[in-house]
Symmetry: C2
Subunit: 152 residues, 2 copies
């Protein structure tokens, strides 16, 4: 299970906008510099976010991008979905479209459970919370366990 560069970049760009403050425009070039993202690649991502209704843009001098909604109403899951499609997929298809047979039948509810769990976290955490380094208690609880930081 891998989170794509595009999803990672999109969230980081959105966080820069959240940190800039409501209604403040930031140029793509500035975001690219701040987060070390290739400029032209980022422009494509910001275009996706705009078409997805998460970001608004302004051309010309002093133009740039800003969040289309308050940062505390945009979840990380929304950002990822807009640029990458479904949050979790198996062989490229969403779990409910899968069909298993024989001893693998219970694999479907298992993938569903995994997806539900990922949704729970990424769906409840907002850009505002991450940008302000104030993660919700339950998420912080998971992240504070030292074991969560070790590689198996």
């Amino acid at each position: 299970m891998r989170i794509s560069a595009k999803a990672d970049y999109a969230v980081r760009a959105a966080l820069e906008l959240a940190a800039a403050g409501e209604g403040v425009s930031v140029k793509a070039e500035v975001i690219a510099g701040a987060q070390g993202i290739p400029h032209k690649f980022l422009e494509g991502i910001l275009g996706d976010l705009r078409r997805g209704g998460l970001v608004a843009s302004q051309r010309g001098g002093n133009g740039g991008y800003r969040l289309a909604r308050p940062a505390d109403t945009i979840s990380i899951a929304e950002v990822i979905r807009v640029v990458d499609g479904p949050l979790v997929s198996v062989r490229g298809v969403r779990p409910p479209e899968l069909s298993y047979c024989g001893p693998a039948e219970s694999l479907l509810p298992l993938w569903i459970a995994v997806r539900a769990n990922v949704r729970k976290i990424l769906g409840e955490v907002t850009l505002a919370e991450v940008a302000a380094a104030r993660l919700p208690g339950d998420v912080l609880g998971l992240a504070e366990d030292p074991e969560a930081w070790t590689n198996p």
Copy 2:
């Protein structure tokens, strides 16, 4: 976040072995037929599982593959790691190797929390449980929520 065909196939193959019973050998061709997996592709996967110590093999007539350990001691996470490497990665690298700056700093604990949650589920569920359609209570609880089955 996508689960690869290889990981999906590997788990399904392992489930066939779990269902066959302890110490019973099953031919690759039979597994491939039962689960609709390309035969030669599956052979490669079974080779990975064998080198990873999860499966034992026997050549010649009446040969085949069998689990190297009891099915209730092998987690789904183990199977996936053997064929695909790290369970969760961001841009191909494991979360602890990432570094973020500025308003994205709290992204790291967030990915860690996601990973911890995925580990929790896939690490606690065993081949025996899935093959027997007896998922643990907490996993079943997640999968039973009707909302978990809807696409956003």
